[in-house]
Every structure is written in C-alpha cells, then in structure tokens.
Amino acid sequence: MRSLSALVCGAVFGAGLLVSGMTNPAKVLGFLDLAGRWDPTLAFVMGGALAVNAAAWAAMRRRKAPLFAPVFALPQANAIDGRLLAGSALFGVGWGLVGLCPGPALAGLLRGELPLYAFVAALVAGSWLAQLYTRRARG
C-alpha cells in the first residue's frame, strides 16, 4: 500500500513537472537568465506547489500518523551550516550549467534523450561521491 501510494504520488509529481514545463531544461534556463529574455514561470510553479503543500502541512500537524506508515519521518536537521550552504551552492551551479535538477531529469527518462541519461548517470555518480566524502569526513 505504501509503495502503491508512493508510485501514484510520483506519477502526479511527474505530471506536474510536465504540465508546468519544468521538464524542459531550456525553460528552466530561461527562468535563471534574469538578464536575458526572462521566463518567470518557475516562480509560479513554486507558488502553486507551496500553496497546496502548505495546506498539507497544516493537516499533518493535526494528525498523529500518516495513513500507511507508523510515523511521520521528518527531517531532524535544523542547522544552517557550511555543509548546507556549500552543497546548495554547488547544486545551484550544476543546475545553471544544464537547466536540470533531479526531479525533471528523472521525469524525462522515457523520452529516449541520450543527454538526459548522461546527466542522470553523472548525478548518481556525484551523489555517490558525496556520500563517500561525508562518510570519510565523519571518520
């Protein structure tokens, strides 16, 4: 049940990415190009997503547990530290280089576009390297 609902949520997420145009890297780069012909669509996507999702957080606070799992598994970290800022900065550079972040990259995988596969392979490799790095840094 838990995996089925996750599959449905993933599919709705993917549908939202396609409808909003965020699956097109050129459109995302159009948002990031403030000084060019600016395409503000991404701000509207964030706005729509935040409005709906914020209502869900309000609903969650009134509930003890989710429908299909024993507890809400929420992030515990709240420190704004160098790791958070450095990681986010590097992510933003990669995002700006290509116009893809993880969700849209995966959502496009059925297009048969070779560049997407190369990007996703590099993404997985980068994530793996980061996991090695943070494990070693922790000792």
């Binding site: 949520c9 939202g16 159009g30 409005a51 704004i80 990681g87 590097l90 933003g92 990669g94 280089l97």
Partner: protein
C-alpha cells in the same frame, strides 16, 4: 501585446547588450505553471499524508539503492512514477512545452556531478528544500533555496552574458 512589448524592448536594448528592465520571454506560461505547481504540491502532500515522507527527489534517489529493503521499495516506486506520470501526461495532452537540452557533453557531465554532489551535501534540491522545506517553514530550507537560486542565476549570467558563448 506581451510579444510586441518584449520585441520592442529587445530592439531598444540592442544586440548583445543586457536590457535595463527584465524582458519577459514569449514562452512565459503562468497558468500552466500554477497548474503544474499545484500538481507537484498535491503529490508532495500525498506522500506526506499517506506515507509520512518528504517528497525530496534527490534524497529519495540517493537512498533508493543503499536503504534497507523495507525502505527501498516505496522509494523506487516514487522514482518510477516520475517518468510514467510525465510520459502519460504527454501522451494525453501532448508535450506541452517541448524539450531542448543544449549544453555540450562536458557541461552536461559537470552539471550532473555538481547536482548529485551538491544535493547530497546540502541535504536537498528544488523539491526537498524548495517545495517541501519552504512549505513547512524551515529556515534551513529557506537558506538552501536562496543559495542555490543565487548560484543558479549567477552561473547562467556568467555563461550567457559574461562569456557570451553559452546557450
């Protein structure tokens, strides 16, 4: 109307010079943006209320392979849903915005490595920090979102307007 205004502003600015005021692109699609955003928010809400999980794509992807068995299946199911939902929607309504990926292979690989490395180090991406973190009022996610937006804007500015050779 918007189209002609954008063209006029571009003509005034001249080729190669950045216009003083933002020039809105013809592709700007606020309605579909809001609708798609609402779907994304709905998906994140569903994953939270049904499974008690944050819809952060980078974290779900990174933990989908190493996680213990019971925690692996829902992650793989969510990840499989992304292309299925996108392709299914395109089959029903058409490929609404098209697809264009222009960077060179070297830039693609560098970008992928940075996105993978950075999202793990920073603990989230546009979905985990941007959509979910901001919706629950996390200051940590706000800081992360401001930083990756800033470096994203800066990277595109550098590529397109300083070196000029980018796409």
């Amino acid at each position: 109307m918007r189209l002609t205004r954008a063209r006029a502003a571009r003509a005034r600015a001249g080729p190669g010079r950045a216009p003083a005021q933002p020039v809105i692109a013809e592709e700007f699609s606020p309605g579909l943006g809001l609708a798609g955003g609402a779907l994304i928010g709905l998906a994140a809400a569903g994953l939270l209320l049904a499974d008690g999980r944050i819809a952060g794509v980078s974290g779900i992807l990174a933990r989908s392979l190493g996680a213990a068995r019971g925690d692996r299946l829902w992650r793989l199911a969510f990840l499989a849903g992304l292309p299925l939902g996108a392709a299914g929607t395109a089959a029903l309504f058409g490929d609404l915005h098209g697809f264009a990926i222009t960077p060179s292979p070297a830039r693609l690989l560098a970008g992928g490595l940075l996105v993978g490395f950075g999202t793990w180090l920073g603990g989230g991406c546009t979905s985990g920090h941007g959509v979910c973190g901001l919706a629950r009022g996390s200051r940590r996610s706000l800081a992360a979102t401001l930083v990756f937006m800033a470096t994203g804007f800066a990277t595109v500015f550098a590529l397109r307007h300083l070196w000029g050779g980018g796409s």
